[in-house]
Symmetry: C2
Subunit: 200 residues, 2 copies
């Protein structure tokens, strides 16, 4: 009778196996705390610090994320999601071209914040392998939607793909490395501006 079904789902649905409400709340608090601590202290921050900030015990971390890399990967995914979701929000609140502009700046913020994780991501830990694919799968459609809207509204040229833009901006942000966000912002602004139709 002790059928211990380890039906662990970490992707999107909790329909199969109702998770205890408090456990779910702790998981959310944990990811939020980890995100903050990683941003402040780096991904090597002590587990205890993360646990304390989330108001849980270290055991709770290890139950949800057996390896540190699992926690890092989860935080990364969460931030990718947050960035992608912003696209929809901007689409509803701004004119198409401005939505693109704002989203690209948001994307720059993401890239700069992610730089701390970059070296960790380049390790060969198995938990990190699917992350680049996830990155593309979430961000590319998000931006492509904004681009399509702006193109159909006649506000932007239509001859550049979301994929190319993502790569280009990532390239602009990564190598400068000096943490100079302002510099990156300026370059990206130039780039986006170049996409606009000139009203002349």
């Amino acid at each position: 009778m002790a059928g211990n079904h380890q039906k662990n789902e970490s992707s999107k649905e909790q329909t199969e196996r109702p998770k205890r409400a408090d456990a779910q709340k702790n998981l959310v608090a944990l990811l939020q705390a980890a995100k903050e601590v990683f941003a402040e202290t780096g991904v090597d921050a002590p587990m205890r610090d993360i646990a304390r900030r989330a108001g849980v015990g270290v055991g709770t971390i290890y139950r949800n994320f057996p390896q540190r890399a699992d926690l890092i990967a989860a935080v990364f995914r969460q931030e990718v999601d947050a960035c992608a979701d912003t696209a929809e929000e901007f689409a509803q609140h701004y004119a198409p071209a401005e939505a693109v502009d704002r989203w690209m700046q948001r994307y720059v913020d993401f890239l700069v914040a992610k730089r701390g994780l970059a070296s960790a991501l380049h390790s060969d830990d198995a938990a990190f392998k699917p992350l680049p694919a996830y990155f593309d799968a979430r961000l590319e459609p998000a931006l492509q939607g904004l681009l399509n809207a702006a193109t159909e509204a006649g506000e932007l040229r239509g001859d550049v793909t979301a994929y190319d833009l993502l790569r280009a901006v990532a390239g602009l942000c990564t190598p400068s490395g000096h943490g100079d966000v302002a510099q990156a912002r300026r370059l990206v602004s130039l780039l986006i501006d170049g996409l606009r139709y000139r009203s002349e």
Copy 2:
């Protein structure tokens, strides 16, 4: 025989007292042990393991290398030296073109072995900053000497520089990443073979 470039620090030989013989011996044993342990366990291996293998106490490590990065850098330099010194040896034992061929294979071995250190090298630790320059300064002249000899002997084309070759082969080895040495070797062989004058 490999030239011992670390015998005396040439820059401070008149100001500093000569180093105690046993200290020098310990330093050599330490570097050898670190090289072995890094190769077996990775650069994160416990200091105690390295100390035990070298037959010294951990204190001796910290006296010579205050930071772990210092020890890693020293091992790296030692391996660069070993690779560079091989050039002279091959030049004395083989025909010019074959010396080039053999050295390039030796260089492939070095690159593959170094892959474990690659992620560490890409950290922003100050101890690693001068390493790329050292890499070029040692390896480029070594290969250039072999190339010049082969060119003057009429065995190789003379229109490729040592620098270009080093970069090209490093590029061949790094991205494949699958640890497939045989694949890398085959590519490099093709490359070197292309440099030969066809006896036709």
